[in-house]
Amino acid sequence: MFVLCVKSIADDTVMKRLNICFSIVLLFFLSASFCHGQSVQIRILHVNDFHGFAEPYKPLGSDEMVGGIANLAGRANELREKKPCLLLSAGDMIQGNNWANLSRGESVIELMNEMRFDAMVLGNHEFDFGQDVLIKRISEAKFPIVAANVEGLGQLKPYIIKNLEGVHVGIIGVVTEDVPISTHPRNVAGLKFMSPVDAVEKYIAELKKKADLIVVLSHIGYPVDRILAERVKGIDVVVGGHSHTKIEKPVKVGNTIIVQAWEHAKALGVLDLTVEDGKIVGFEGHLEEIRPKNDKEDKAASAIVQKYNEKVNAVLNERVGEAEMDLDGENVRRRETNLGDLIADIMRHASGVDVTIINGGEIRTSIKRGEIRVKDIYSVLPFDNYIVAIKLTGKQIRDALEHGVSAVEEEEGRFPQVSGLTFKYSPSDKRGSRVKEVLIAGKPMDSDWEYTVATNDFLAAGGDGYKAFGEAIKASRDFAIIGGMMKGEKVVYSDSGRWLRDAVVEYLKEMKGVAPTVEGRIIEIH
């Protein structure tokens, strides 16, 4: 072009043309020198595993109030003003706390829209309300939701590209492969979850032609993020979630920077990158711990929190049914009660098993005769427990019952409430030898036969000193998903995305009225 211009230098017109050509050439060189050698500062703000913890709270073992999404939003606003910035979420946003659950995540998406998130990866708990709800939430989101290793949900994108001051940032999403065994299988029917490593390798090859930097927005947990960084070359940054890890300073594995910002809006992750010639030449990061400070709140986010608090209260006041008699939650640590029977029956019904054994301590209060509201059930069952069902032998059931009645004198929470079985016990006998006749479906229990037993995840994990469920889990080999349900050698049901109290609410809504009586399932003899 420059040569052509010199040849045409003959008259004024040609001189004008020369000037234009010279200007173009100058612009070309100026432009080239901007792209090559000039560094650009960009910022990534990130959160993960919010789980609907919109308001500050005191974590177990702490007396300090922490978190609060309106405060986090306020701080994010301040930080994003300083540099070209992305605000990313590494998943598990819409399920967990009542503030999220009672609107099935609608509250969280409205909040994230207000906060102007740039992208989010699906977490495993995003599937917990089922695919119809998830598709609705995706349609409401004003930001893209990425998941490169999920097949069958057309609303998802494998990746996006964002342009920050001329730096093209490719963002690939990956979620844990374990989704089908960590939520109810009906929630993922028809979907396929591929290996995150394979998915990232596939899309990184495609993105390298289009993007300067590759960010993996990951919901696979920090230990697996490290494996991903070791195995897949070309990842610049992993913004992680799932393991709720508090990575106070960015970690480097090979050439990959890994960050994660704890949980529950207790921290906002900040990662500053210096980019030169499409490469990261410097980075600095930290977590901004979030504490309640009214003057720092984002007012719009705060208004959304309050709006959905009012909706939560409205839902909690909804009528779900009628108790035709008082439902006894006071005596659940010393004897069979009608409320214990009702909850145990609902668990057996929901999981389709032979027997239920739960700890009386799960049940925290009574319900008076009359209208039952959602908040009554939430007061009875305040813990975030879910239904698990495991195959136990008759001997293991007897061991569980023996443990359950072993501290009846102290009225400990381990005292059982049951469904599908009846048993007699003698509290005056030696601990460990108190349980006498056990009948299942009206027949004597066979010590060697395996029965399917529903319980809560607390007891399944050994809570209140119950060991029988843990022994069965230890002996279990493998799972398969058959007919939409998780089946395994020992584990037959697990629905970690639906709290027990919500299963009870759903049941009562169907039944309208309940009139449970004490049936003689647990008989004290002397």
Binding site: P59, D178, G221, P223, H244, T245, K246, E263, F479
Partner: protein, 68 residues
């Protein structure tokens, strides 16, 4: 599959989908969190009680500010 994890180097088994708190329960150590202790991963990062577990993960209970 059941999941094998380690709490203070002791092997315990939990179900897929279970979290840090379940592993602590299985190890009989959840009560310690109500005091002045927290949970850390094998690299010394604090982890939340609702954090997801993965196969062969190692977690440790330590006094606050006394990391690995």
């Amino acid at each position: 599959m059941k999941m094998k994890v380690y709490v203070n180097d002791r092997r315990v088994y939990v179900l897929p989908g279970m979290k840090v708190k379940h592993a602590l329960m299985r190890a009989g150590l959840l009560e310690e969190i109500k005091g002045s202790k927290k949970v850390y991963d094998e690299w010394g990062n604090e982890v939340g009680l609702d954090g997801a577990l993965s196969e062969e993960v190692k977690i440790y209970i330590r006094t606050i500010n006394n990391k690995l």
